[in-house]
Symmetry: C2
Subunit: 352 residues, 2 copies
């Protein structure tokens, strides 16, 4: 925690020199950058993984050939490395169901996202789009095969969109749409902007092993030691990554996972690995989520009995109430990011 | 051009304080940030546009309800505003066919993308994903309608993937795959990373008017004066945006457009608007592109005769040879970005 005050000093120094920014802040930008300019050492994007295949149903349009080679299953990664990051471990941020890496950016009500919050704590951040979603290419050739009568309708890929009424309960805004849990901290006044984040989900159509997990393992190795931060649908992925190979996996933060590893599964991959499983409020009010929390507690007991370092943190038990399933968007999202950054610093530690 | 040297001085000052960055640079990061740390005034992401609809074929999975409300046609926008930007106009970067906003980020061979190059020139940059692509949600409900036998196969949305062999000639790497134009500046050694950028293209399936154009108009108004920078498939969009409304459209840079406005169309929307149409090399060798360049020259003559300020720039005619259709990835991409930034400064000017 030595870099931050020093950095803050530099920002103040810079502010004295810096000319005012030109663009009028738009509504969703007005609440941003409460700590002055960001100093970025380097940023950019790249892909990990990917599979090349040939298809004869790439297109039904005369302007584009039906036959050819495409690459699918790759994972899009956008990263920023802050200046003065010292030895802080890179954080890989993995979104959940029906969403993309946008999850971690500006909140629906226009506040700083966790991608920037962690940067300002000195952590390099790597935000991915899951396989077949967002900027990670989906695999459309079956659609054209069916469209041209070369395949049966039931061979179409399984793709779904979560309806807003359905998602309301899944994200725990209330027991059912349009009920609202008392004291809910999700900014419902900005729900329209939030619903725009949701995209069709091809997760039931991707091959096995899940290319997102394969990509996470490649990324962790490439970063030579990263903390994998997952959410909801992707909650289990860091555990599956560690099972594939411990190389590069420095720690796991699983936020409201759709599943934890089974308590009777092999605990060897998790031995000595700092793992945090974080939960928000109202879990006991949800038939979808309460069994999952119980299963994560069972996993933690089994893992720790076998030499694991698993902590299950439930915010209400820490006196923090009102959080939905979308913790990173709730009104106290920056406080939670601070707490998480502290947990990672204490438990994962820095590079030697 | 006064801010930059001063900023450079600050960066040097900072470099003296800054601790070394932690993460080992990965292959595609090694060539980055030749000019020291970036100073960002603010950054984030938001959506423009969007249409809410109800569907009964959202899902075929028991875990997700088939009926509900979703939002589609919105446009994902990611922005960065550099510190000390003075009065520079925001640039809106719009990618082309079968691609996403990734086009403008790190080049396939790991060099700085135009998003950062323009930032370092002092321009706020706004990178979008076209409607139904990348982080802008596609509309999947017809797929489930067909899959469940509620609709005929020929009602499936028109989606296509450009095959790599097909794209080879479209992007003018050579006359046909795997031929290479002599002196080509596209980094073919990194083509594998480039092919991973390509995603399924739903452009023939989006409603009319194109939601990307609707979104660009909303974004331009919100930014109170932006330069719309388009490429290839999206080349015509800024012209269509100006036809919809001139409000917020401060200038147009159309890079190798799939089409310019017809020379016999209404030129009123372009009167007095600074417009650049930029072309690379080998255009005359391409039966796909050479007629399009000729049509853009016809448009420029017609527009300028009607009080327009349209310039058609063909790089080889300026002595710059070897550029492909993917100018922003070619080995001289940063030189071209410098020239473009200069053109915008001279022709569009700054905010008063």
């Amino acid at each position: 925690m030595f870099i931050l005050p020093r950095a803050a000093g530099l920002f103040a120094l810079l502010a004295a020199f810096a000319a005012p920014a030109s663009a009028q802040p738009a509504p969703s930008e007005t609440a941003r950058s409460p700590q002055g300019p960001l100093l970025i050492e380097r940023q950019g994007s790249f892909f990990v993984g990917g599979r090349t295949l040939r298809s004869d149903t790439l297109s039904t349009q005369p302007a584009y050939a039906p036959s050819g080679t495409i690459t699918v299953d790759q994972i899009y990664v956008r990263y920023q490395v802050p200046a003065g990051t010292g030895g802080k471990r890179p954080l890989v941020l993995v979104h959940g169901c029906c969403l993309t890496g946008k999850t971690w950016e500006t909140t629906p009500d226009g506040r700083m996202g966790w991608d920037e919050a962690f940067l300002r704590q000195g952590y390099p951040t790597y935000v991915i789009d899951q396989a077949w979603r967002g900027r990670s290419a989906a695999h459309p050739t079956t659609i054209n095969a069916v469209r041209t009568g070369q395949a049966a309708a039931d061979t179409l890929p399984t793709v779904f969109a979560a309806g807003q009424e359905d998602a309301w309960a899944i994200f725990r805004f209330g027991r059912r749409h349009p009920e609202v849990f008392p004291g809910l901290l999700f900014p419902l006044e900005a729900q329209e902007e939030f619903w725009k984040q949701m995209v069709p989900d091809w997760n039931f159509a991707v091959p096995t092993p899940n290319p997102t997990v394969v990509g996470l393992s490649a990324l962790a190795k490439r970063l030579e030691g990263a903390v994998l931060v997952s959410h909801s649908q992707s909650g289990i992925y860091p555990f599956q990554t560690a099972t594939m190979s411990r190389e590069g996996v420095a720690g796991i933060v699983s936020i409201e996972p759709g599943a934890c590893p089974a308590a009777d599964s092999d605990m060897e991959p998790y031995k000595g690995l700092p793992i945090l499983v974080l939960w928000g409020d109202f879990v006991e009010e949800s038939t979808r989520w309460s069994p999952r929390l119980r299963a994560c507690r069972d996993f933690a007991r089994a893992a720790n009995a076998a030499g694991g370092k698993v902590e299950v943190a439930v915010l209400p038990e820490m006196g923090i109430r009102g959080n939905s399933h979308m913790l990173m968007h709730d009104r106290n999202s920056l406080e939670i990011a601070d707490w998480l950054g502290g947990w990672i610093g204490r438990n994962v530690g820095e590079r030697r």
